[in-house]
């Protein structure tokens, strides 16, 4: 329910109103007015008019100040400019600022910043006139002259203003550095600059640098950035080679950072393929079984990690995840030693099973016999395929049904930890120690472990997890189990063996995408002609 409210707010404020964490908790919209009064305001004053007289502005201000406790003399100007922030309302905004100047008080810094934002939204629909650009420059100069170092919000507004001009956008680059003093620069600041840079014919390097910086700061670039690049590629009657080089650079960037583009970008790519049929062919595609693209009939690359990466993962794993400065939190030193010796003795395995996770997969409130039976069924599943398994559990599992546990003990290696220890890190340690070929069986998403490994190892860990994780889907009435096997092909942008690029895409752009464990539904198949 509240999502609708927030979405509405986004739409009305031209998308620049930052959604703060506090907004999700409180229904009162910040720096703005509640919806019904807003509707009234918009319909009475703002919808069709280009300018209002001084008295009308006076009455608007008055009604806002009287109506809301949080709106007072200081912030009513910025609030009004926040309300008329659509591209058609530029003249209205300018009119209000002129009115403020005429009354003698003059607009404050926040109001001028918001005016720059309105200029920016107008710039996206039509090019700005000379006079408008001069005014933008004037405002930017005055804001920058007033303070030596600007704060993050003002920097962002000035960046948006400068990007709307034709020649002066490069002044905005040092402002990005200034933003870093107080906080990491926002997605919109980075995106605005990168978009502008891609739009110029010779500033591609600058744009790429910004994109790299952005993804390093874990900010997802907006669709407009990619659209700007693709538009430029479409317009330039470029030689085949430079188009190919640029596109490959884009695809490699997406691959390296595991970015999922949105549908808008995918549509633009399709259009590009139609516009330049000799140089590239783009088709929407689906994935068949075993990761085969239905269009180009090529198999996607396997998701396996290289030996070097695997070695790195194995070295850092124990220290960062299990010990993490205090081994007593997750286990005890003697138990770790005992486990290590056991693994040395009985390695290598084909699969390591997280006993408790498997047993509780179909529900936590089952009788111990059922839990033990489920575990035994999973062990049998692997025994039928002649695989060696290690089962990890806790001491209290000895008290489960003796027959099932004996079956497990006879057909697999069994290691039971203390009832107080975490068994997940043991599972991953045994699997990694066994080598690259070993899988593991657990429904756990391993999010804490991915986080604890750090930013460099996290993508490697996730790829390894995708390649090796079996999970139990469910158990049917007859007792048969349905096992989800790991997906052995890559799920991000990459080049298949035959040279064709495969690009998955999602429906809408999200600023903070979470780790997804599903196969993307929509794919594009790109073939670049040499």
């Amino acid at each position: 329910m509240y999502n609708i409210r927030l979405l509405r707010q986004l739409r009305w404020f031209g998308g620049h109103h930052r959604l703060m964490a506090s907004q999700h908790k409180r229904p009162q919209l910040l720096g703005s007015v509640p919806s019904d009064q807003l509707e009234q305001l918009k319909s009475n004053y703002f919808a069709r008019r280009q300018e209002l007289s001084g008295d009308e502005w006076q009455s608007v201000r008055h009604s806002l100040i009287e109506g809301y406790k949080h709106i007072n003399d200081h912030n009513v100007d910025a609030v009004i400019l926040g309300v008329c922030s659509g591209p058609q309302q530029l003249s209205l905004a300018k009119n209000y600022v002129d009115y403020l100047r005429s009354t003698g008080a003059g607009p404050n810094a926040a109001t001028l910043g918001r005016l720059l934002r309105v200029y920016n939204t107008a710039y996206h629909t039509r090019p700005l006139s000379e006079a408008e650009q001069r005014e933008i420059l004037q405002i930017c100069d005055s804001l920058q002259a007033a303070h030596e170092t600007l704060d993050a919000t003002s920097c962002e507004q000035v960046i948006h203003g400068l990007v709307a001009t034709t020649e002066h956008w490069q002044r905005a680059l040092p402002l990005l550095e200034m933003m870093k003093v107080t906080s990491t620069p926002s997605v919109s600041a980075y995106s605005a600059l990168a978009e502008k840079a891609f739009g110029q014919s010779d500033q591609a390097e600058e744009a790429w640098r910004l994109l790299e910086e952005m993804t390093l700061a874990r900010k997802q670039p907006r669709c407009e950035v990619y659209l700007a690049l693709l538009n430029r590629l479409a317009q330039e009657p470029a030689a085949t080679s430079s188009l190919r080089v640029e596109l490959e650079r884009l695809l490699q960037f997406l691959e390296r950072h595991n970015i999922l583009v949105s549908q808008k970008v995918a549509q633009r790519l399709l259009q590009l393929g139609q516009q330049l049929p000799q140089q590239l062919r783009v088709t929407a595609s689906r994935l068949g079984p075993l990761g085969k693209c239905q269009e180009c009939r090529q198999h996607l690359q396997p998701v396996a990690i290289s030996d070097e990466e695997f070695r790195q993962l194995s070295e850092c794993f124990l220290e960062k995840v299990l010990i993490r400065g205090d081994v007593f939190q997750k286990s005890t030193p003697e138990e770790m030693l005992r486990f290590k010796q056991y693994v040395e003795k009985t390695a290598p395995y084909d699969c390591v099973i997280d006993g408790l996770n498997v047993a509780y997969s179909t529900g936590a409130k089952k009788a111990p016999q059922q839990l033990a039976k489920l575990l035994a069924t999973v062990v049998r599943h692997f025994k039928e395929r002649h695989k060696r398994v290690l089962v990890l559990g806790r001491e209290h599992m000895r008290k489960w049904s003796k027959s099932a546990m004996h079956y497990v003990q006879n057909n697999a290696s069994l290691f039971l930890t203390n009832n107080l220890s975490h068994d997940d890190p043991f599972l991953l340690y045994a699997t990694i120690r066994s080598g690259q070929e070993t899988d593991f069986f657990s429904r756990d998403l391993m999010r804490t472990h991915a986080f604890l490994l750090g930013a460099e190892l996290k993508p490697i860990f996730r790829r390894w997890q995708q390649e090796h994780q079996f999970s139990l889907v469910t158990q049917t009435q007859t007792g048969k189990i349905i096992v989800k096997e790991p997906i052995r092909h890559r799920l991000s942008v990459h080049q298949a063996e035959g040279g064709s690029w495969h690009v998955p895409y999602c429906d809408v752009y999200t600023p903070n995408p979470t780790d997804s464990f599903d196969v993307p539904e929509h794919w594009l198949c790109l073939i670049l002609n040499t």
Partner: protein, 447 residues
């Protein structure tokens, strides 16, 4: 962070894969338990050394900011707050901020942390303004009332009644009660069982959690003092420079005075008491506390762990080799889907006090807030009986819910109070004066 060097070294040896001689392993573990093993024979010696006492090294976070940088950063942050205020966000005006506010703002790591702090300051500013407005209003009203009364008195020809604060009762001042309770506390220090609050978790809490912990510690002391048979409460591992203790000092300024009956110790409880008697109460272990043993000294970790999920108290108890226990909450209570099984410190102390007094878990666990506990059975029974009787009663237009309430509560009423039942909808039972006995049939509302 209570980093112990020995197990860490052990584990890093394992990482490097060197063969650890088995003897060395057992040696190191012998010394861990060495104190425990020998403590029994040295019953008379009062000195128990803490094998894990380490001088805490000052951890530097990198090169210190110069004064100039700090001043510059402060200016930028002031500009940030100013602009946010102009935009109408939840930031108070610049005049509201004081030096200690800016010090705190400069210590916050990220922009979102600053935004939340500004929102908090905005809230207290708004509350203050509302208070001011109400006070002005009240002053006006009082003046008007006094003027009216004076006028009335002047016009009155009869005598004027009224007690005007005279009374036949002796006035009992707060300080008298305080002295009486302090006296009880000093007697407790001599004779009563001991209880330890372990305040060593300062590093694991952020500022807000530390202030909550301080308030809970203050409430522990207060509620302990109120009780008829208080514990001898010891605050151990108190880092007097840390946030938690500084806040506690603001609540109780005379905390460290020698004549004030509060035991604050910088040392660890292992140095003050015998390890055999110590039991660490932690929610992360498996053994329930079954009976209360007055010879045991129970330890509660003074930590507010809203952000932190790690079993720190468990790790500490394991490392020190102490016995552990948890309250048998699952056995005696049925938890609702509310706010989880965490209890505040003063609730813990109250539970232990009641347990000591009665030995009965049901009465002790009455201190767990009722909103966390759901009583499924009584609710169902109430609904059934209510439905049956409700229709009849509605026809006669008679109110019966107070009778039904009494019915169920009679089963559960104990010496401590009638338990609060969850709020129940009283449908169709409201007494409507205008339609009462009007002869019109009350239309049932279609749901």
């Amino acid at each position: 962070m209570l980093k112990t060097l020995r197990p860490w070294r052990l584990a890093s040896h394992m990482l490097k894969g060197c063969a650890i001689p088995a003897r060395r392993v057992s040696d190191s573990f012998k010394t861990f338990d060495g104190d425990n093993a020998f403590a029994g024979s040295e019953v008379n010696s009062k000195k128990f050394s803490n094998p894990f006492a380490q001088a805490s090294p000052a951890i530097s976070d990198g090169p210190a900011e110069t004064e100039e940088d700090r001043g510059k950063r402060r200016k930028v942050l002031q500009l940030e707050a100013d602009i946010a205020h102009q935009e109408g966000r939840r930031v108070p005006a610049l005049e509201f901020f004081q030096d200690h506010h800016w010090d705190h703002v400069l210590s916050l790591p990220t922009k979102s942390a600053r935004i939340k702090y500004y929102a908090f300051l905005w809230q207290i500013n708004m509350k203050k303004e509302a208070e001011r407005r109400k006070k002005a209003q009240r002053a006006e009203d009082t003046e008007r009332r006094i003027a009216d009364m004076r006028k009335e008195r002047e016009e009155n020809t009869h005598i004027i009644y009224g007690l005007a604060h005279t009374s036949m009762f002796l006035r009992i001042y707060d300080t008298t009660i305080n002295h009486w309770q302090n006296n009880r506390l000093t007697r407790a220090m001599q004779f009563a069982p001991k209880m330890v609050l372990d305040c060593s978790y300062d590093k694991h809490m952020n500022n807000r959690e530390a202030s909550y912990a301080a308030k809970q510690l203050m409430l522990c002391f207060a509620e302990n003092r109120l009780n008829d048979e208080p514990f001898d409460l010891h605050y151990c591992n108190a880092q007097l420079e840390g946030k938690c203790m500084q806040n506690l000092k603001r609540y109780i300024p005379t905390m460290l005075n020698p004549e004030f009956p509060m035991n604050v110790h910088k040392q660890c409880f292992t140095e003050l008491f015998d390890k055999q008697n110590l039991v660490y109460l932690t929610p992360h272990c498996r053994e329930d506390l079954v009976t209360y043993n007055p010879d045991d000294i129970y330890i509660v970790g003074a930590m507010v762990d809203t952000m932190n999920n790690e079993p720190l108290s468990l790790a500490k108890a394991k490392r020190l080799g102490l016995r552990m226990a948890r309250l048998p909450l699952d056995r005696y209570l049925q938890w609702g889907s509310g706010s989880g099984k965490s209890l505040t410190l003063n609730q813990m102390i109250n539970i232990m006090l009641d347990l000591k007094k009665t030995g009965n878990w049901d009465s002790a666990l009455k201190h767990v807030p009722r909103r966390k506990v759901v009583d499924m059975d009584t609710q169902r029974r109430a609904d059934d009986s209510r439905k049956a009787l409700g229709t009849r009663a509605r026809k006669l237009n008679v109110r019966i819910d107070h009778l039904l309430d009494f019915e169920e509560e009679r089963r559960h009423t104990t010496a401590f109070a009638t338990p609060q039942t969850l709020r129940q909808r009283k449908e169709g039972m409201e007494f409507q004066l205008d339609t009462w006995a009007a002869g019109k049939k009350k239309k049932k509302r279609e749901n």
